[in-house]
Amino acid sequence: MEETVIRFEHVWKSYGEQPVLKDFSLEIGKGEFLAVIGRSGCGKTTALKLVNGLIVPDTGRVEVKGQDISCADPVMLRRQIGYAIQNVGLFPHMTVEKNIAYVPSVSRMDGWKGEDRRKKTEELLRQVGLSPALAGRFPRELSGGQRQRVGIARALAASPDILLMDEPFGAVDAITREQLQDEILKIHRERGLTVLFVTHDIEEALKLGTRVLVMEEGTVQQCDIPSRLLSAPATDFVEKLVCRRREPEVRM
C-alpha cells in the first residue's frame, strides 16, 4: 500500500454507557477512495468525525499524515480535511457564494482575497457541475442535488487533500445520484484526494470505493477491495450484505 494518510489505532469511543466504536483500527493510504458501509447507528459518522477531531477518542489514537491529531492544531488540521456533512449542513442565511467563500475569506486563507473570491467560487461551482449563475441563491432556493453539490464545493474550498463525505447522496433521486457519483469520482481522480465516503447503499460502496469497509456495531467486519468482498466475504454479515446486492442480477 502507498503511504498511510489516516490511521486509527485501537480506538474506543462511547457515549455514556453505550460503546460506539470498539477497538477500531484502520489504515487508509494516500489517494484511496474508502467507502464505509454499515447499518444506521453502527458508528460510521463517529469514525468520520474522529478524523477531523470533532470527536475525541476515549482511548487509542487517530493519526493524520503521521501526526497524532490530539497534538495537532485543530484549525490547521481541518483545513487539510474537507467535510461534506450528513444532511448537507449548508448555512441557510448565506448565499451559495458566501457558503463556499465565507470561512476561507474570513480566515484570510491564500487565494480567497478580494477579486479572487468570486473567481474561485465560480471555479468550484463548475467543478461540481453547477452553473456559476447559482452563486447568488440561498440554499432553500436549490434542489436537493444542487445543495449536495454546493456542500461538496464548500468542502473543497480550502483545497484539502483529504475529503470526508457522510452519506452525501442520501436525499437525491437515482439519476442525480448517479451523476453525483460520477462527478465525485472525477474530482477524486483529478485532485488526487484521499476520500472517506460513508454510505448505506452497498451498490454505491462497490461502485465508488477502491476499498470498502464494512462496519457492524462499532467493529470492522471486513476492509477490502470490492471484488474480494464479493468473492470472499469475511463474516456472515458481509455475506448477507453483498447477497442482497447480487439478487437483482440473478433476477435479470
Partner: protein
C-alpha cells in the same frame, strides 16, 4: 358637566405645567427601559452562550454553575426587591438614580434574555456548528458568524416581548424615589387629591407605548418572514 371636565383638565395638566411631570416621567421610563434592555441583551448573550455551550459540550462547568445561580436568584426574587437591594445596599452611595435603575433592571432582564438566547442557540442544528468548525473556524468564530445570526433571527420576537415587559416593569422605579411615568401620576394625584385623571393618564401612556411597540414588532416579523421566501 363640561365645566367640571375642563376644570379637571386644567387642574391635572395645565396648572403649574403639570403635564411636564408626565413627559419627564415618560422620558425617564423610556431611558431606563432602553438602556436596561441593551444591558440585559449583553448579559443575556454571554450567559446564554455559556449555558448552551455547556449543554452541548459539557464544558465550562464552573461558569455554567455560576450562571445557574444568577438565573435562580434573579428569577426567584421580585424585581422591586432587587432594585431596592442594589439602591439601598450595594450602591448605597450612588447619587444618580437612573444608572442604578438601569443596572438593576438590566441585570434582571439579562436572566430572562439569557434563557431566550439559550433556547435560540439550542434550536440551531448542531450540524451548523460542526460545519463551521470543520471548515476551519474555531468554536467562538462559528458561534459568532454562523450560529448567532440564525439564532438571533429566531429569538427577535421574544426579545421584543421582553422589551415590552420591561417597559411595564420599570413602573416600580418609584420605590427608589425615581420620577418615572408612574411616579409622575402619583405626584399629580397628591396635588389634585383626585386619583382618577392621573392614573388613567399614566395607564393610557403605557398602553400607547406598548401598542406602538407591538406594531413595530409585527412589522419586523413580517420583514423577517419575507426575507425567508
Amino acid at each position: 358637566m363640561w365645566e367640571n371636565f375642563s376644570e379637571a383638565i386644567y387642574l391635572n395638566f395645565i396648572k403649574d405645567d403639570r403635564w411636564k411631570y408626565y413627559t419627564d416621567g415618560l422620558k425617564v421610563t423610556l431611558t431606563i427601559t432602553l438602556f436596561a434592555v441593551l444591558l440585559g441583551v449583553a448579559i443575556g448573550l454571554v450567559v446564554g452562550i455559556i449555558r448552551a455551550t455547556h449543554e452541548r459540550t459539557h464544558k465550562l462547568k464552573i461558569m455554567n454553575f455560576l450562571c445557574g445561580i444568577y438565573l435562580t436568584v434573579i428569577r426567584g426574587t421580585p424585581v422591586v426587591v432587587q432594585l431596592m437591594i442594589i439602591y439601598y445596599i450595594i450602591l448605597a452611595s450612588a447619587r444618580n438614580k437612573i444608572p442604578v435603575a438601569i443596572l438593576a433592571f438590566g441585570i434582571n432582564s439579562g436572566a430572562y434574555v439569557a434563557e431566550i438566547f439559550r433556547s435560540g442557540i439550542m434550536s440551531i442544528d448542531n450540524g451548523q456548528m460542526e460545519a463551521g468548525r470543520s471548515l476551519g473556524f474555531n468554536y467562538i468564530q462559528t458561534m459568532w458568524y454562523v450560529v448567532l445570526p440564525q439564532a438571533f433571527k429566531n429569538v427577535l420576537p421574544a426579545l421584543c416581548n421582553e422589551f415590552i415587559a420591561l417597559l411595564k416593569e420599570t413602573s416600580v422605579s418609584g420605590y427608589i424615589a425615581l420620577q418615572d411615568l408612574t411616579k409622575a401620576g402619583d405626584i399629580v394625584r397628591s396635588r389634585t387629591f383626585n386619583p382618577f385623571f392621573p392614573l388613567f393618564t399614566v395607564a393610557a401612556i403605557y398602553l400607547i407605548c406598548v401598542i406602538v411597540l407591538t406594531q413595530c414588532i409585527k412589522l419586523l416579523e413580517r420583514r423577517l418572514r419575507q426575507s425567508e421566501h
